[in-house]
Subunit: 450 residues, 2 copies
Amino acid sequence: MAKAVKLAIIGAGSAQFSIDMVRDICLAEDLAGSEVALMDIDEGRLEMVLEVARRYAAEMGADLRIEKTMEREVALRDADFVLNTAMPGGHDLTETERSLTERHGYYRGVHPANRYRCLDLMMEVARDIERLCPEAWLIQSGNPVFDGCTLMTRRTGVKVIGLCHGHYGYHEIVRMLGLELDHVTFEAPGFNHCIWMTHFRYKGEDAYPLIDRWIDEESEKYWETYHPHYGQTQMSPAAIHMYKFYGLMPIGDAPRALWSDVWWYQLSPESKKRWWGPEGGFDSAEGWELYLADLERNLGRIREVAQDPQRRATDVFPPEKSGEQVVPIINSLVNDRPGEYQVNVPNRGALAGIPDDVVVEVPAIIDGKGIRPLAVGALPERIMLGVMWPRWLQMERGLAAYLTGDRRYLMQSLLHDHRTRTWEQAEEVLGALMAMPHNAQPARHFGLKA
Amino acid sequence: MAKAVKLAIIGAGSAQFSIDMVRDICLAEDLAGSEVALMDIDEGRLEMVLEVARRYAAEMGADLRIEKTMEREVALRDADFVLNTAMPGGHDLTETERSLTERHGYYRGVHPANRYRCLDLMMEVARDIERLCPEAWLIQSGNPVFDGCTLMTRRTGVKVIGLCHGHYGYHEIVRMLGLELDHVTFEAPGFNHCIWMTHFRYKGEDAYPLIDRWIDEESEKYWETYHPHYGQTQMSPAAIHMYKFYGLMPIGDAPRALWSDVWWYQLSPESKKRWWGPEGGFDSAEGWELYLADLERNLGRIREVAQDPQRRATDVFPPEKSGEQVVPIINSLVNDRPGEYQVNVPNRGALAGIPDDVVVEVPAIIDGKGIRPLAVGALPERIMLGVMWPRWLQMERGLAAYLTGDRRYLMQSLLHDHRTRTWEQAEEVLGALMAMPHNAQPARHFGLKA
């Protein structure tokens, strides 16, 4: 007899993601009888998502109860799983802060205030879970997953799983090489947004030579007409250059990194265009606009369904699995359905050379016993020295800033940023950012004038 | 009955240092009957040093045999101690490479070829010791002490002690505060050239408040007329700024660091002048000229003595202990005279948070039992995150480059340098440097055209 669950979604106004979750639960027969609590502070969004989600479940004939609330406590009470997708302040605030900090010489901005908000909200949610539903699993998909999951697992007793779909970037490699996905085996451990393909085989044979051949014979032609959708960074000149430099393919979001060795791809609009095609990739001004427009478009589709009772939700969102790992992992855990997933959990030896209390992204077997990460060995030294350890230090500086309120850690982060040219520049951008009215709380935290 | 030793000095053409060693041995009665083998590849310098050293010992009536050789094997055979002061290529080569690399946008130059030469010579000497005098202690005073001692202790079985006089920088603090040195206790662990004063007491009381008072009441006045000798960086605006930022005083060469958080003090001549006074400190063009001129002046004094048989060496170099730790350490080891020294040895737990196989600079008790480092605990997190771990990574990149011959590690070092603005700049400076005729060997090693 399969077990049902209560899933609380914090930040359920991330409309597309919430609909995906509902869709996946409707398709998971094992989870019949479950309950989803949609929680957000944006009432309008919440109403809209609730309307579509309920109609979706009804059309599917699914045994699923869906509620909404603006009170986190209500959502968390008796929850078995808490999915935190929240992005405090949303994209608007990020863009405002980006504009301001760009004027201080930081192309594409710096985001210490945003990091403070995100970490602070994560800790609030985790502490509420400790109080209200201490046995619940917290599934963290809101960013920064690496930093936040490390913080929460160090400072609370909550069972945390960080999830991201970045590792699916290898599907793009498979597609470009013309392989059948079913015959591909793959492994790419690291930190979230910093994973490296240590294993890539096709029908039992090492498939890296196929990438090498693609680079030699097809990449130049491909890049001539390369006009990628903002998200397709996987076979970009930047990713291939990183592969040659580090010896392994960076997967998903890894080629977008701004820290450590790889800052120089991103230092200017010209450089972005050279390394990620005409739009400059995901993180250029143009690429990011496309991304935000896509989010708006998705939201628009959901709004249309919500506003038109005649529209069938299942026509707009066909009943197919979303590909997100959240619901399959829930089912694996509560109904003992073994599966291999890509998760972010405290290391405890899974990835050699990284401290135990740092969250790593590794494959794990999940079933009724819980989450058992697979010990994948070590990444090559060039990747550790060039990227992994510098990224680890960057994370630690951010957590130390958050935990101590000592703004000197914020300065350290900025001084390690290649866009910083002088001490004064770093001090000024920090002062200006924290003087924004909405940043009164972090400004107090760091002893800076709001 | 005290034991005599054979001390081989590799790079004995470092004339002042060699004379200091002879002077110290002459003053160490325990070491009567000892032998010093002066070895260098510069025959003229060697003759000069031998002449002065022998006359010095004779004037002192010391029971000391002094020989010279241009064959390293001859010097090492039967040696009990090997002092390696060698600087392959000398200052001239460094200056040539500095000029070239400055033209590529690296103010004050980059020195990967020099690092290669230094590490390679250290390893040659260490391997010769393994073969010819495996029981000998190797005292490494030629730079880079941190990188080289880590390399040699990892890759050979030789007993290595790295020495530096940087920690005496605290004498300058004591002098500025008007304290009596005899009543000061002090501790400053870290890596060589990156040490931090964790303990500073005067007559049993914490003396850091005296520094704070000096900063509040006297520093501005001092800096108004601050026209320091190139070496006096200890109370510079840079050092005090670092103290405020990190929470502990950086000692000796630590404020001169160019890596990690602290690159920006050094990015331009203007910045150097602001932070180290009118000459821009030790590492500015002017400061370094003064340093080189000082070396020449010392050399001139020794040459004068050598050329004038009527001059008494002991008049020019009064029979006082040099203050160098080398001879006292030798005496502690062979004649069981316990003493506390500041040494560079593999960590093995002495400094918390640093891997065991990394060489740290820590206090150690040295006597007939050998070298026992004192476990000094941990440095504050802000120092670890901002300086120590980044410096550790920089060292590891350099060793990986040397050991693998993979020039991508050299690129990683350059890409982590804040003076690098583009990938091409780093590639070009590396190509130009390795194309210098004298760099044929490193060029081959790194697969670059010479």
